[in-house]
Subunit: 253 residues, 2 copies
């Protein structure tokens, strides 16, 4: 799935706030004419976007008489869902999964991207998908600091575990790129941080980005960043970066 998280209070269903889960479950109920619960690979925070979220659900839609008669397959469900979903949520592909498939427990890697627009001026177009930083950033220092994240570490400095107590995660890659983001923005100033791990703690990517920004702004040096990582102390992290720059890119199984 892909979604613009701007107008949602996160993925996970809540009593009195619009969520991606509720939106998709409502669409599934409407199409399949049966209440349907979904499970997601990543429960993205309020305002966080997704380009490659993975969800799973059980349905007997394909085995119904009317579906069998019409020869309905996964692509028909995909089209039907996209027809009823609001424009800020889309299903990219519907596929049949094994009965024991669990999008969260079976995921081997998740990749997130965080977009930053570094310029003295705001840029109104694409402001919903990137953090504007008006002071100059030392991206080389941010890149250097990011290297220390790679490997298996206790990331307690950067977040809380979603369940249990274990705060150890394995980061496969953490790099800054200067990917030219929106071609109608002024040249230069666009940076993106790509991070891939077996799993993430709550708020981990945003906390890492917020702390790397302290390095980029010269408020923390690379050595201090490494010490903060080793400290396993939430108080050592910089301010958590806002959600709207973050996007769940891919989940690997």
């Amino acid at each position: 799935m892909a979604y613009d998280g701007s107008d949602y209070s996160g993925f996970q269903r809540q009593a009195n706030a619009p969520t991606v889960q509720e939106t998709l479950e409502d669409a599934l109920a409407q199409v399949t004419q049966a209440p349907t619960s979904i499970v997601a690979a990543g429960r993205t925070d309020a305002g966080v976007h997704a380009a490659g979220q993975v969800i799973a659900f059980d349905t007997d839609w394909f085995r119904r008489k009317s579906s069998l008669r019409r020869g309905y397959g996964p692509s028909d469900l995909e089209r039907a869902l996209n027809a009823v979903l609001p424009e800020d949520v889309a299903v990219r592909q519907v596929r049949e999964a094994g009965e024991r498939f669990h999008p969260r427990y079976d995921a081997k890697k998740r990749r997130y991207r965080y977009y930053i627009y570094n310029s003295p001026q705001r840029w109104p177009l694409i402001r919903r998908y990137s953090l504007h930083v008006d002071r100059p950033l030392n991206v080389e220092a941010m890149e250097e600091a990011a290297k220390s994240l790679v490997g298996e570490h206790d990331f307690a400095t950067f977040g809380q575990p979603p369940q249990g107590e274990v705060t150890v995660r394995r980061v496969f890659a953490a790099t800054w790129g200067t990917d030219s983001f929106p071609s109608f923005a002024p040249g230069g100033g666009w940076f993106s941080f790509d991070v891939e791990a077996n799993a993430f703690l709550y708020h981990m990517v945003r906390s890492v980005v917020g702390t790397l920004l302290q390095v980029g702004l010269g408020k923390m040096d690379v050595r201090a960043f490494r010490a903060a990582l080793k400290a396993r102390d939430r108080a050592q992290a910089g301010p958590t970066a806002p959600p709207h720059g973050l996007c769940l890119m891919t989940v690997t199984y």
Copy 2:
């Protein structure tokens, strides 16, 4: 100026609808403490965006005692305006202009860009800045048809003159590109149409794009497109493309 036109009823001030003009004039009044009227190079339609709109206004702000005492210049006005403007409108640069400068009459060229996402699937991120076309487009045919727009022509087929009767305009360039637009969208499928002219008729770019789309969809051939241009008949144009794919890129003086 740059703005996201999604939430505005166009540039030009209206009695009961939010406009970019009103928003900027309010900001100017707040900063300069004097009612200030602006004139724009292009009065963009409701929902159309801008990356390089040019506006002009008269102000005595720089000559006020308090400004003189503080040595305020154009960049101070720029910062003050950006501080009070909403996040979907930004001033890119404030410069002093000659007393006789008129952003519309003095403009030699305007360039617009229209973004299209051509894919069977919707893409929720950046949907505000591009038109989604789900059937395959023949971009080569669209490129071929667009060539006939270049030069001085009577464009009555594609729009009405904003004032007077003359519908002749000079188009300097009209090309389709495959500019990779948002890097978090799936590879491929992104097209943009760049068109530069001395001036445009009302709805001209959107009408041209809508008609080129008929060519891309195989509903009109290149020959018929050329005949439609020559016909000087509004009824020969395809449906006007929606505003949200369009962006005023640059104005040249």
